[in-house]
């Protein structure tokens, strides 16, 4: 019992729970991906394994494990194995700093519903997400296949390009919050003061960049079947391929959670104070954890929704959008945010920024573009 009264143990259990939730959601994302795809295409989708097909992820896992685990003869064997492991590892590590809830007291132990509250929280997310590209790069290179390598190169250059705009959209958040700690960022957004109100443009940039970071449509160039057979995982089979695909779904969920943390108040939900007053802060914190997961799942739905709506970019369009579209836009957002802080009206500045941007673009269009001769 001495051990149970330990914050360390409580944290360990919590980390285990988060781990399980993340993996479970990632597994079921594959099912919902297929279901949502089906619904959007007026189909029914997988419905054979169990009622409504809810055992489909299990069937997929069994299939993945039963398949031949093939390692190409000319591949670099150790790196070939390390690739998917690294992908999975980095995907899972990101959730360490996401604050899932406020402080709770369970069985006399008081602890935060967060893996670790480090004062560089958001930098941690960035660092780990940037490491994530190594999994793809190593896997693509180790395959000793030109298509895999091309896919890996694409992934790397895409991630690097979009990370810049992503980082700059976060700088605006940091300017508002004054802290890198994800916990502090969430705490400043409590009681409905969500960052999305002050940072609509920043959110749009972040959203687009996270599509690119997760290699999701319309930025799924690294696994473009028409050009690259399969992309960086062409040579992969069995559960190694499963790890790559699984890491993608984990990344989706985690980036949903990060977006909720940065822009949608994290574990905040309407009526938080009421629940806390009525049932105590612990219950409120656990409901908040549910709220955060709900928000993250909503973003996962948006990811899937976009996937089944938009076609893929051409590669030069992708790079053009990243470098000439999003980065200047993110810089503009930083300037507007700074101006908002200066005048003490961040919400007004956020809305005014969008209006000014659109007006400026139209004005620019009207003045400088040559009219096509009728």
């Amino acid at each position: 019992m001495e051990l149970l009264n330990d914050v360390f143990t409580a944290k360990a259990i919590f980390v285990g729970i988060v781990f399980a939730i993340t993996l479970g959601i990632a597994a079921y994302s594959t099912y919902f991906e297929r279901k949502i795809a089906a619904f959007m295409q007026d189909r029914i989708g997988p419905d054979r394994a169990g009622p409504f097909g809810i055992l489909q992820p299990l069937a997929d896992a069994v299939k993945m494990f039963m398949k031949e685990d093939f390692i190409p003869a000319n591949s670099n064997k150790w790196l070939f194995i390390a690739g998917p492991c690294l992908s999975m590892l980095t995907a899972l590590m990101t959730s360490a700093v996401v604050p899932f809830g406020d402080t709770v007291t369970v069985a006399g132990v008081t602890f935060d519903l967060q893996g670790i509250d480090v004062n560089i929280g958001i930098l941690w997310v960035f660092g780990i997400v940037s490491l994530g590209v190594y999994g793809i790069l190593i896997g693509g290179w180790a395959s000793n296949n030109k298509y895999s390598l091309l896919g890996a190169i694409r992934a790397a250059s895409q991630n690097i390009s979009y990370e810049l705009a992503m980082g700059m959209s976060i700088i605006a958040i940091l300017m508002l919050t004054g802290s890198l700690s994800t916990k502090t960022i969430v705490e400043t957004q409590q009681a409905g003061h969500w960052n999305i109100l002050q940072q609509p443009l920043g959110f749009l940039i972040f959203l687009i960049c996270s599509f690119a970071e997760c290699n999701r449509t319309p930025f799924d160039l690294p696994e473009c079947e028409t050009e690259l057979i399969g992309g960086y995982h062409t040579e992969y089979s069995s559960m190694k391929l499963g790890f790559y695909l699984f890491a993608e779904y984990i990344n989706m969920f985690i980036s949903g959670a990060v977006m909720a943390t940065l822009f949608f108040g994290g574990y905040d939900y309407p009526g938080y104070a009421f629940v806390a007053g009525q049932f105590g802060t612990t219950v409120a914190a656990f409901v908040g954890m549910g709220a955060l997961i709900g928000k993250a799942l909503l973003f996962v739905f948006v990811f899937m929704w976009v996937r089944w709506t938009l076609p893929r970019f051409r590669y030069d369009q992708l790079m053009g959008l990243g470098w000439t579209g999003l980065i200047p836009l993110a810089m503009f957002n930083v300037v507007v945010t700074g101006f908002g802080i200066l005048i003490g009206q961040p919400i007004l500045a956020g809305i005014a920024g969008v209006v000014i941007l659109i007006a400026g673009l139209f004005l620019n269009d009207a003045i400088f573009r040559k009219k096509k001769l009728a």
Binding site: F39, M40, D42, R43, I44, W305, T309, L361, D365, K372
Partner: protein, 172 residues
């Protein structure tokens, strides 16, 4: 040379700013997919649910009996001649005395076999039949075979059962 009167030349001007930003188009596309997300699926869970395929669907063959329950087939062989896939074969037999309630004509098919792997369900046997004896039923399909022994359907499977008379829609 103009190949069709239906062609329409579309003048594609330069894209406006809203079009170049793509965002309005993306929102429109997302609205379309969301609309379909909530609309009724057009597919069905096939083996459990089936659709009505119409009164003239050409499914499994049936050898009809007449109103008194006597087999209508007289083993003339016209169906076998008409069959482009040569799926039908039969052996004719003379009707004995006392079998009038079993067979309508003086001659009947002792053996009547349809090879379901050969059959292309074209319905020419139906058209060729002068006695209105063979039909392709609209409500039953030939099930999947698991072995080659099941491929040839004899009279036991083809002749209409008295307790489940086959009535096509619109026959009454």
């Amino acid at each position: 040379m103009k190949l069709s009167t239906k062609t329409k030349v579309i003048e594609q001007g330069e894209m406006t700013l809203a079009e170049r930003m793509y965002l309005p188009a993306i929102v429109g596309g997302m609205a379309t997919t969301l609309k379909h997300f909530f609309s009724k699926p057009v597919t069905i869970r096939y083996p459990e649910q089936t659709r009505y395929l119409g009164p003239i669907y050409r499914g499994q063959h049936i050898l009809k009996r007449d109103e008194q329950g006597a087999e209508r087939c007289t083993a003339c062989g016209l169906c076998a001649v008409a069959c482009p896939a040569e799926a039908i074969s039969m052996v004719a037999e003379e009707r004995k005395k006392g079998e009038e309630n079993l067979y309508r004509e003086e001659k009947y098919a002792k053996v009547y076999e349809v090879n379901m792997l050969r059959c292309i369900f074209c319905g020419l046997c139906e058209e060729a039949c002068p006695k209105e004896a063979i039909f392709l039923r609209h409500d039953t399909m030939v099930p999947v075979f698991n072995s080659r022994d099941e491929v040839i359907y004899g009279k036991d499977k083809l002749v209409e059962k008295m307790d489940q008379r086959y009535l096509r829609d619109g026959w009454k």
